[in-house]
Amino acid sequence: MSTAELEALRTEIERITEETKTRRMKWSRSNPTTFIWTSTGTPRGRLTLQRTSQTGQTITGGRVERVTTKNYVFSVLESPTNNVKLSVNTTAKDYTTLREPLEKLFDTIGVGFDQEALDFLKQVMGRP
C-alpha cells in the first residue's frame, strides 16, 4: 500500500472512530477482543476489528526485558460472501503507522459498550 493510500485509510479510520463515538455506528462484540460492524446499505459489508498481543524481548543496558505490544487486525469483508476486501494487521511493518488510530477506534468501541451497559443498568434500576 502506498503512502497516500495509507494516509487515506488512516483518515477513514479516524472518521469511523468519530462515528462510533457519536453512536452513528453501532458495533457488536463477537468475543472479548473482536468487534464487528455490519453495514445496512448497499453494497453490504462488514468491518471487523481485533486486538492481539505479542510479547517480545528487548535488551536495555544489558538486561533482557519482556515487552508486550498490542496489535490490531482490521478487515473489510463483503457480505454475504465474506470475501476479504481489505485486511490490515499492524504486526506487518507496512501498517505499523495504523496502530495508533486503530487503538483509538478499539478503545472508543469498548467505551461505547461500557457506556451502553451503564445506561442499561440505570434504566433497569429506574434512575434518570
Partner: protein
C-alpha cells in the same frame, strides 16, 4: 651408682615408642591405607558424578526427541480458519506435554531461562485464547482468522523456544549442570 644410672637410661631409651622399628612400619602402613581410602573416596565421588551426568544426558536426549515432535507440531500450525474449540484442544495438548517435559529442567543453569520463557508464553497463549472465546449469544460470529491471529505469534515464539531448548540439550548435555550439590 654411675652404672645404675646408665642402665636406667638405656632401659628408658629402649622403651620409647619412637625407637621401635615395628611402630614405624605400622604407621607407614596406616598412612598408606589412609591415602588409599582418600583416593577411593575421590574416585567414587567422581564416578558418581560421571554416572549422574551420563544419566542426565540420556534423560535429556529422550526429552529432546519428544520436544522435537512438539516443535514440529507448533511449526505446522498454519490453519488460519481454526476455530476456538479446536485451538483450545490443540493448546491444551501442547501445554500439558510441554510443561511435563520441561519441568525437570527448570533449575538447570543453562536451561532455566528457556524453560521460564516457554512457560510464560504458554500462559500468554492461554490468555490470548481466552480473548477470542466466543461471547455467548453474540449477534455475529467472529470472522475467519480471528483465533489464528490471536495466538499465532505466541505459537511461533513457543516453537522457537522449544527449538532452542532442543539444540542446547543436544549439544551440551554433559556441561549443563544444575548446581551439582543440589542433586549429588
Amino acid at each position: 651408682m654411675t652404672i645404675a644410672v646408665a642402665a636406667l637410661e638405656k632401659t628408658a631409651q629402649s622403651d620409647f615408642w619412637g625407637s621401635h622399628g615395628d611402630f614405624w612400619v605400622s604407621t607407614f602402613i596406616g598412612v598408606i591405607g589412609l591415602g588409599f581410602t582418600v583416593w577411593a573416596v575421590i574416585a567414587a565421588t567422581g564416578a558418581k558424578r560421571a554416572a549422574n551426568r551420563a544419566a542426565r544426558s540420556v534423560k535429556m536426549q529422550s526429552v529432546a526427541i519428544e520436544l522435537m515432535d512438539i516443535a514440529k507440531e507448533l511449526g505446522s500450525f498454519d490453519d488460519q480458519s481454526i476455530l476456538y474449540p479446536e485451538a483450545r484442544e490443540f493448546m491444551r495438548e501442547i501445554n500439558f506435554k510441554l510443561r511435563r517435559l520441561i519441568a525437570p529442567f527448570q533449575d538447570y543453569d543453562e536451561l532455566g531461562d528457556f524453560v521460564a520463557s516457554i512457560r510464560e508464553n504458554l500462559t500468554n497463549t492461554q490468555k490470548a485464547l481466552s480473548g477470542v472465546k466466543p461471547v455467548p449469544g453474540a449477534e455475529e460470529a467472529a470472522p475467519v482468522g480471528t483465533v489464528y491471529n490471536a495466538i499465532e505469534g505466541y505459537v511461533a515464539i513457543i516453537g522457537d523456544g522449544v527449538a532452542d531448548l532442543v539444540g542446547l540439550m543436544h549439544t551440551a548435555p554433559m556441561n549443563i549442570g544444575r548446581s551439582e550439590a543440589k542433586t549429588e
